[in-house]
Structure formats: structure tokens, C-alpha cells
Symmetry: C2
């Protein structure tokens, strides 16, 4: 039985940054977020892959305690090819092959249905909504999204936000969706849609939580050697949800800690290509950086 | 006797933002920073004005306990005319009349010479260096700067940085001066020049302190109603230095608190045009927002 159900993409990523490159490495929003969640809880993925998907990745998920029962198999795996320029702030897409994603229908295995914590990683908002509706009695639905859906499926996205407890997006997306340069104004508008809380990711500047009338600002972890930021947002969301699932808590204090743990895992992820660094870190590494985060914000 | 000597500009600013405008209002880096410092300590300004400078402003400085003994009088006051667009991030200059600033020679009154805390507000780095050298035995020299000096007087700026204890600049300037998109790398390069510490202001994202191998990240105060950001950086630097002067302390813990107090005063300043809001706030207002900053950062 899993406790954290995650819907999102499982992909093969080819990434180039000023510091190196990888070809057809394990990627996708559900991959990164479920690995991050697995440091705390028992996640299960809902997604689609193709017949070409390397078995070693499925094996890796299982070793990490990530259920793959909810992954269906289509023709060809979703592929993304992108690069980062020197400032590493924004992924530029060279090529996207949606492949089997185009025919994906959400399949929720019986062993997922009772999961109380749901993470809707970045994927089509209609699939996200279908996933919510397929769960028996979720306690906390956390959703992520991206600019693509704001541009191409805004109404569907807004509808899914109305069914979510916590909305996570980045500062650019917040400004874009609510047409304001002011993040506080964007957050207040988002709070009127979502059931409980809004989290704005700000990359190196940390993250903001707006929870009713409470406000939390998490520091960014200072990183000098960023190799590949792909998947950092997914790690943040997966780590956040997994931490809450582990502690069976959704109060403000738990959410604040969950944000810092999510940030810590994202900070490690940026230090290696693809999921490389996530494969190396231990619980001790995570606790060490969590303590550093306490010191960084202490005054 | 003053305890905080401040060199910088005293100006008449004409500012337009999407929320209103003011004409020939009290402005300049020394004005904002000395008002901010005056909430904590006894600052004195070193600057130049013209014969056209309204007496009411001098009266206002005196009422706030800001010494104007170090202000000399030339022909015409420095005037700046600028505007902000909707995102309020960057001041656009319409017109600059340097006027008497062009002939300014630093004059340090006897009553300033023993001040232990020096704030070099934004002004020509050669004048900043002259001010440092004119002081008897400063304990802490804090300097601010701006992109104009990075572009036009880089060598002089680097020389002044070598004589300062704490360098304050914003994220854009840090990246520009040290030619790197990575703030941590920029901070580490700056730490090799400056005597003690580096502070990077990040506007709404707060501020970072790099103090030897210690790192502090101050949150930004969440502001929805920003009317005019002019002078916020000066308020930050002046508030920071004034707080340290009041507590006669320069250790890491004091610097962290000083950064938060500087941020609080800057946050109020943005809520009104020119120095309007600074004229209204009380110590209670400052303490209230300081406590909110603690809560914002708590996990």
C-alpha cells in the first residue's frame, strides 16, 4: 500500500548545460517527484511509458520503494530534449516527442486508491483532475503546473486548481496566470481558487507559502555548483508532499518544514545531471542541509 | 556628537510611478539613509546642496536628530527625474542635473571625526574613499554603490571596496561587477576584496549576508501596495548601519538583526512617495514588522 499517489510524466531526457550533457536519461515530473517523495514516504506513480523504456529504470524505482503499478505501457516513451544557457534560469526546449503521452488514460491501481496524499506533478490539467476524482478520500491534494498549461489550457487548469488543496507554481507562472507583477497579489488571487494554500517557487530565492492569512518565506540554499536544474521543481513538490505524508500532518507548521525539506532535495538535485545526485544522497545528507537552512535563516 | 557618519547625495527628486508622482521632493542617498539610521542612532550627513535647497528639509533633518553640519552649500542642488513602469523593479532616469555635486569636496566637521560607524551611501567612489580617510578611527565602514560606478569608475570602485568592511550591492550589480550569474560566486569574489562581509540586496526577495564562511538569508517583507521604491536601498543601508551603531556591535548576530531592521524600514519606505512614509512611522511600527519578519521565517 502506498501513501502518496503521484501523477505526472515519466520521460527520457536529453539535456545539455554549460557543464556537460546527458542523453535519454530518466526524467519526467513523476520520476523526479516520486524519487524525492521516497526519502519520506511510500509513493506510487501514475503515468505512461513506451515499450522502449529501459527496464533498469523500473528496477531503480522499485529499489527506492516507489510503486510502478500505476504506470501503463504504450508505444513509445515521452522524450524531451533541452538545454540551459549560462545563467541556468530557464530550460530551452529543443524537441518534445509526446509519443505515448498523447493516448494516456489515467489508471489508478487498487493499491493506490486509499492514498491520503496526492501529488499532481506537471502534466495536462485534465489528467490531473481525473486523478483527483479517481482517489477514494484524499486528505491533501498538492498540484504543480507549468507555463505551457497556462498558455494552452487555462480554463482546464483553473478548474483543476479549484479541486486542489495546495497549488505550487513558480514566480513567473504566478505573474502570468494572474496578470500582475506583484507576487502577493497573485498569491491572494490564487488563494481564492485553491482550497487551502499557495506556494510560489522562486528558484535560487527560495519559496513562499501563503496559507490562509499566514505567510512563510523559505530561504534558498546557496549553491555554487549547479550542473543541471532539470527536475528541481518536481523534487520540491514531491519532497513537500512526501514529508507531509510521512508525518500525516497538514497544518501550517508541518507545511513550513515540508517546504524546507522539498528545497533541500531540490538543491541536491541541481548538483548533478538528471537524477544522478538523487541516487547518491542519504537521509544524513538531507538532515545536514536542513540544519544549515535553519542557520541560514536564523536572526 | 554623532555616531554614524554618512556620505552621499542630497537631492531634489521628481518621480513618477503608476500610482502617482511627486515634484522636487527631498531625495538622494544620504537623505534616505540618514533618516533610516536616525530611528536607531545619531547620524550626520556629508554632502552638498545648492542655494535653492528648501530650508524646510534642513529643518526636517534636525528634527530627526540628523546633523547637517557636514553639508556644504554650492550653487544648485543635484536634481534627479525618473519614473517606474508597472513592474516597479527598475528606476528609469529621465534627467539628471548633477549641478553642485560636480564641485563637491568632502568636508568632515570636527563633530563627525570620531564617529565609529560610517555609511558610504551611493556617490562617486572617490568621494567615498576620501570620506573613509578623513575619519579618525572608524570601527565599521559600510559601503553601498550602483551600476553607474561599475560602468564608469570600476577601478576607483574596487579600490574603495578594499577599504570597506561591509559591501552592500544588489544582485544585478553583483553579477555585473564579478561577471557571473551565480550570486554565491559573486559574493565569494567580493569577500576577497572587502575586509569583512558582503550583503546582496534582492529587492522583494530579501537580502543575503556573506560574513566570512557564515551565510544568512533575510526574507523580503511581503508588500502589496508599493507606491515608490526610490530610496529603499539607501534606507536598507542606513538602517543597517544605524542599528549596529546603536548596539555598538559588529558581530554576525548583530549584522543579521541589522539587516532585518534595514529591510523593515525599506519596506515602509516603498509604501509612500519620496520620504513621505518615513515621516509617519514610529518605533512601534518598526518593531511590529520586525516581529512579523520573525514569524515569516519560522520553521
Amino acid at each position: 500500500m502506498i501513501d502518496t499517489a503521484i501523477i505526472g510524466t515519466v520521460a527520457l531526457d536529453s539535456i545539455k548545460t554549460p557543464f556537460g550533457e546527458v542523453k535519454e536519461a530518466l526524467g519526467g515530473s513523476a520520476s523526479y517527484s516520486s524519487i524525492a517523495a521516497s526519502f519520506f514516504s511510500k509513493p506510487g506513480i501514475m503515468s505512461i511509458i513506451g515499450k522502449d523504456f529501459p527496464k533498469e529504470h523500473i528496477e531503480f524505482f522499485r529499489k527506492r520503494g516507489v510503486s510502478t503499478e500505476g504506470i501503463v505501457t504504450g508505444e513509445k516513451t515521452f522524450k524531451w530534449q533541452g538545454y540551459y544557457e549560462f545563467d541556468m534560469n530557464e530550460a530551452k526546449t529543443l524537441n518534445t516527442e509526446l509519443n505515448s503521452l498523447l493516448s494516456y488514460k489515467v489508471m489508478v491501481p487498487e493499491s493506490y486508491r486509499n492514498a491520503k496524499y496526492i501529488f499532481l506533478a506537471n502534466i495536462d490539467p485534465e489528467l490531473q483532475l481525473e486523478a483527483i476524482k479517481s482517489m477514494k478520500s484524499p486528505e491533501l491534494v498538492v498540484m504543480d503546473t507549468m507555463n505551457f498549461w497556462i498558455e494552452h489550457k487555462k480554463n482546464e487548469l483553473l478548474e483543476t486548481i479549484r479541486h486542489a488543496d495546495v497549488l505550487i507554481f513558480n514566480d513567473g507562472e504566478a505573474r502570468q496566470l494572474f496578470k500582475t507583477p506583484n507576487l502577493l497579489e497573485a498569491a491572494n488571487k490564487a488563494l481564492k481558487l485553491v482550497k487551502r494554500a499557495v506556494i510560489i517557487k522562486k528558484g535560487e530565492h527560495g519559496a513562499l507559502l501563503f496559507n490562509g492569512n499566514k505567510h512563510f518565506s523559505a530561504p534558498g540554499y546557496p549553491l555554487e555548483n549547479i550542473k543541471d536544474p532539470t527536475g528541481c521543481g518536481d523534487c520540491f513538490g514531491g519532497g513537500f508532499t512526501g514529508y507531509l505524508a510521512k508525518h500525516k500532518s497538514t497544518d501550517d507548521a508541518a507545511m513550513r518544514k515540508a517546504i524546507v525539506y522539498g528545497s533541500v532535495i531540490a538543491s541536491y538535485n541541481a548538483e548533478g545531471f538528471g537524477t544522478e545526485r538523487l541516487r547518491q544522497i542519504t537521509h544524513e545528507d538531507i538532515e545536514k542541509r536542513y540544519r544549515e537552512m535553519k542557520d541560514i535563516r536564523d536572526f
